[in-house]
């Protein structure tokens, strides 16, 4: 017997002794006395729970053995699936949808002191110059939506879109602002919207994840993977990040020499051991683990098949403007359509590169920004048209937006003019748009003042947008809660109002 084995044996004996010590007569009596009290308390607590702070009559029952089984919304849903297109870095509303001719006239003048008083900016210091719109605008469609020349394709489907032009936030740095939009809190630790949705509704296709994340633009969003994390919800609800080149999910292929049968046999063996473990301890997380192994095995076949966009006809590739074999937004967005078609509940796309400060050419409002627009314009338009022709836009909600807006002033980093034209982060007004699933078509809600600095009507927040998304999915955002650390949490914290005006 080696020293290590001896050592292990001793550890085991000590553990057994520790367990035995818990079983003394004194412990038994103590447990009886205290235990009855605890039992009584336990039966009292749920009653406070469900009536005063619970989920309002119909708590979501988390079944660890089938964590992703489809579940019922609180009321009939209008949207069954969501595609969220997050332009990480925050695109300029002033060069896309919020047309401000008055700002043109102020171009190059000093920013009036009244706009700067009591405000903090991420980079602007001192008195910046105003910067007129750096794009030509025209009205499009029957709705007369103003869309700039930077999105020529999108302009052709203006009548399918619903703009929110006075969205506001209180975070002027990317990471907290992205967290706020996606998780309802600027700090880490909350579940993302997609996690909440898959927790509440499960997913219809048990061979695919319920919440898929696709990134493009060469970088992750600034807030990192937390923007698709599950926070305090069971980890099975976190977003599954997939790639549009190479293996869609890392390590999804069986290693060389491992046959499908052998893989099946080893997963069966692991699950058998886990089942034994569950018999001993009864911990529901073990059931969760077993189901995840089974799902992973199924996904080894179904995911590569779904994730392969090459089987789409050439006409569709042309429509989306894909670039086969590359990791790009257009490929991701075509993939998103395939995924929702197969029953994936929530698809989250992040595209990095919209942070147009003007510190370098790729971040200039009249150079890099235009290139970013060209990278997404065609594919976003294609997505909406493609969903429409398949009848999927009836119950698929598409949302496009960044985490904040950009200033009507030209950025002057540290008080000195930037080498290129750019705009700083702006919290007081920005534009997002939605399409499909019971949202009004060809509609615009909210207005900004004549230079696009602040919201003057129809002001909304990230919480309002979240509340509206949940409403379309059949949830009352105030009642959709999860109890953690002794209190119920919701996606919208204590805020948010459904933007009824934009709903059909």
């Amino acid at each position: 017997m080696t020293q290590k084995e001896l050592y292990n044996q001793r550890l085991l004996r000590e553990a057994e002794a520790a367990v035995a010590r818990r079983g003394t007569r004194r412990h038994f009596l103590q447990d009886c006395a205290m235990g009855f009290g605890a039992l009584a308390l336990g039966s009292l607590l749920p009653s406070c729970h469900s009536s005063s702070m619970g989920t309002g009559g119909n708590p979501i029952v988390f079944d660890p053995a089938h964590p992703l089984a489809p579940r019922l919304p609180m009321f009939p849903a209008r949207a069954k699936r969501v595609i969220y297109l997050h332009m990480a870095g925050a695109p300029s509303q002033l060069e896309l949808f919020d047309y401000k001719p008055a700002l043109e006239k102020l171009d190059g003048q000093n920013c009036p002191a009244s706009l700067l008083e009591g405000k903090r900016f991420a980079f602007i210091r001192g008195v910046p110059k105003m910067l007129g719109p750096q794009a030509r605008f025209a009205q499009h469609g029957q709705s007369g939506a103003w869309i700039s020349e930077n999105m020529p394709h999108l302009a052709t489907i203006a009548d399918e879109l619903c703009f929110l032009k006075a969205v506001t936030t209180d975070q002027f740095n990317h990471a907290p602002a992205q967290l706020l939009v996606q998780t309802g809190s600027p700090r880490l630790g909350r579940p993302s919207m997609g996690s909440w949705v898959t927790y509440g509704l499960g997913t219809e296709n048990q061979n695919l994840p319920g919440f898929v994340v696709l990134t493009s633009g060469g970088k992750f969003p600034d807030a990192g993977k937390s923007v698709w994390g599950s926070g305090f919800l069971p980890s099975v609800y976190q977003g599954v990040q997939c790639r549009s080149e190479g293996d869609p999910v890392l390590f999804i292929k069986d290693p060389a020499g491992m046959s499908r049968d052998l893989r099946k046999a080893s997963i069966d063996a692991i699950n058998a051991v886990n089942a034994e473990e569950y018999k001993d301890y009864g911990d529901p997380e073990i059931l969760s683990r077993i189901s995840q192994y089974e799902m992973a095995f199924k996904m080894q076949l179904s995911v590569p098949e779904t994730m392969n966009i090459n089987d789409e006809p050439a006409y569709i590739h042309e429509l989306y403007g894909t670039q086969p074999g590359k990791a790009c937004f257009a490929n991701n967005i075509l993939l998103a359509r395939k995924l929702v078609e197969k029953g994936v509940r929530f698809v989250q796309l992040f595209d990095w590169g919209w942070d147009s400060h003007g510190t370098e050419a790729s971040l200039a409002i009249d150079v890099g920004f235009i290139n970013k627009c060209r990278q997404v314009d065609r594919s976003i338009t294609a997505l909406i048209l493609d969903l429409k022709q398949r009848g999927l836009l009836e119950d698929t909600l598409v949302i496009w937006g960044g985490e904040f807006g950009r200033t009507p002033m030209m950025e002057n980093r540290e008080g000195k003019p930037n080498p290129f034209k750019g705009r700083d982060h702006h919290t007081d007004a920005f534009t997002i748009f939605m399409a499909g699933a019971g949202v009004k078509k060809g509609f615009s809600y909210g207005e900004t003042d004549e230079i696009g600095y602040s919201a003057i009507s129809g002001k909304t927040t990230a919480f309002d947008v979240q509340a509206t998304i949940l409403q379309q999915l059949g949830f009352d955002h105030e009642k959709f809660t999860y109890v953690f650390e002794g209190r119920p949490f919701r996606l919208t914290d204590v805020f948010g109002k459904v933007i009824e005006d934009i709903l059909v």
Binding site: N58, F75, R378, E500
Partner: protein, 470 residues
């Protein structure tokens, strides 16, 4: 002296309570066990009568303020006085003659008067419908608002302003009561104003007393509606403000009035009065619970059958997983007819269902949404769907149907959308189809986007100081 009038609502509870107590004591004292209570009856009666006199005095003064509907006040006044006199008579008789039959009759009369007068008093203070179950329905709830489809065509006063006033003001400033002398349910009275003068100055919203009062901080004494009442929303105030600004006109339509940008959202919001009911196609009425065994049978075949929401018996079914579960979809659809009352939405897309399967689906008459995309069905099968009168959305993408088959469904007038991408329906069929389905959105798909030079061209930074720079 006027201020004591305000004690009327407090004091009235004394005679009501005491006279009822006297009557109760009287009934009890008829039993031997309580006979000792008998001497207490006249004492309590007298106390009741005295407090009734106090109520009459304060009530008379309060009525003089004239905020109440006159006929109701008159009834309340004279019944109250009769009640007081009767209580004195009863007291006097019981002292003189003791408890005889006449006394019992008079006591019953007293009881009736207490009940009726008390009720009238309640109607005066709380509105005549204060007993209505489910809170206070507004006195003018007989008015029914028809939903505003197009706000521009709506009458500014009758359809927008009046409902706001009715729901928030009429209970105190209406036909029953006119607090502060203000009556708002009649246009002439509304423009005349109240005791303190006019409340609406046409053309001057911010100068009008009505708007000023609405905008006062809620804890201010003059704020309207009073603190404990339901408050107007910002949008409702904006609409009233706008209406007064535009001349407080009682006949014109919204389109005939100027609409500054600030009021547009509020006006648009009026237009979508019932967003929640439109959120889905699910009927608002309930349906009987589905046959459990039928649901289980379908689930066993790999069909996803789910209620549309918690606490709902309406069902959605999705057959797309059935093939993977080894079931023949053609055989599974037959099982659906057991759920025909409950089934609202059905997905059989990309399955091997064919024309013969449509016969079974055609029996599910409650269906709102039917997805047949990517199936083998043809025009012949579509005929079986002609009875689906409730159908709103029909997805035929990628099937073999043609214009002839689709036209056969033209009597399904509730159809909101038909998806026809990838079928034999082409652009040349558009006119015929549009004629058959004038109100339906038809989508034949096949969209393409033009290839623009800018799709692939890359903008480069101008050379520093070069001519490209602005």
């Amino acid at each position: 002296m006027r201020w004591i009038a305000h004690f009327h609502p407090v004091i009235v509870h004394l005679p009501i309570g005491m006279l009822l107590a006297a009557l109760l004591l009287q009934v009890l004292s008829g039993r031997p066990a309580y006979a000792a209570l008998r001497p207490a009856v006249p004492v309590v009666l007298l106390a009741g009568a005295v407090s009734a006199i106090a109520s009459c005095v304060t009530g008379w003064l309060l009525a003089a303020d004239g905020d109440y509907e006159e006929s109701l006040v008159a009834w309340h006044r004279w019944l109250g006085i009769s009640l007081t006199l009767l209580s004195l008579v009863v007291y006097w008789r019981v002292r003189r003659r003791g408890f005889d039959r006449m006394h019992t009759l008079l006591s019953l009369g007293l009881l009736a008067l207490v009940v009726v007068t008390g009720h009238l008093g309640g109607s005066l203070t709380h509105g005549s419908d204060y007993l209505a179950v489910g809170g206070s329905a507004s006195p003018a709830s007989a008015e029914v608002d028809s939903p505003i489809v197009n706000v521009q065509a709506a009458k500014a006063y009758a359809e927008i302003v009046r409902p706001i006033l009715r729901d928030n003001c009429f209970s105190c400033h209406g036909a029953t009561r006119q607090k502060g002398g203000l009556r708002m349910d009649e246009t002439a009275a509304l423009m005349k104003g109240g005791k303190d003068g006019v409340v609406i100055e046409p053309g001057n919203g911010s100068g009008s007393e009505l708007i000023k009062r609405l905008l006062l901080p809620e804890e201010e004494e003059h704020h309207m509606p009073p603190k404990q009442k339901k408050q107007l929303t910002e949008r409702q105030i904006a609409l009233l403000h706008w209406w007064i600004d535009q001349g407080a006109d009682f006949t014109r339509r919204v389109a005939e009035l100027k609409q500054p940008d600030s009021v547009r959202p509020a006006l648009l919001a009026v237009q979508s009065v019932h967003p929640r009911t439109m959120v889905s196609d699910v009927p608002s009425d309930a349906v009987e619970a589905p046959d459990r065994r039928a649901v289980e049978a379908l689930r066993a075949k790999g069909v996803l059958v789910m209620p549309v929401a918690q606490n709902s018996n309406w069902l959605d079914a999705d057959l797309s997983g059935a093939a993977a579960a080894g079931s023949k979809v053609q055989e599974v659809v037959v099982l659906l007819s057991a759920l025909k009352k409950q089934l609202l939405s059905l997905r059989v897309d990309h399955t091997d269902v064919g024309d013969s399967g449509l016969a079974a689906i055609g029996q599910c008459v409650a269906l709102r949404s039917l997805d047949l995309a990517g199936t083998r069905i043809t025009d012949a099968g579509l005929a079986a769907l002609r009875g689906l009168r409730e159908l709103r959305v029909l997805n035929l993408v990628g099937t073999g149907v043609s214009v002839a088959g689709v036209e056969g469904l033209k009597r399904l007038t509730k159809l909101r959308a038909i998806y026809l991408y990838g079928t034999k329906v082409g652009h040349e069929d558009w006119t015929a189809l549009k004629k058959a389905f004038p109100k339906t959105m038809l989508d034949t798909g096949g969209y393409s986007l033009p290839v623009l030079a800018t799709d692939t061209a890359v903008v480069r930074a101008p050379a520093p100081g070069g001519p490209g720079k602005k």
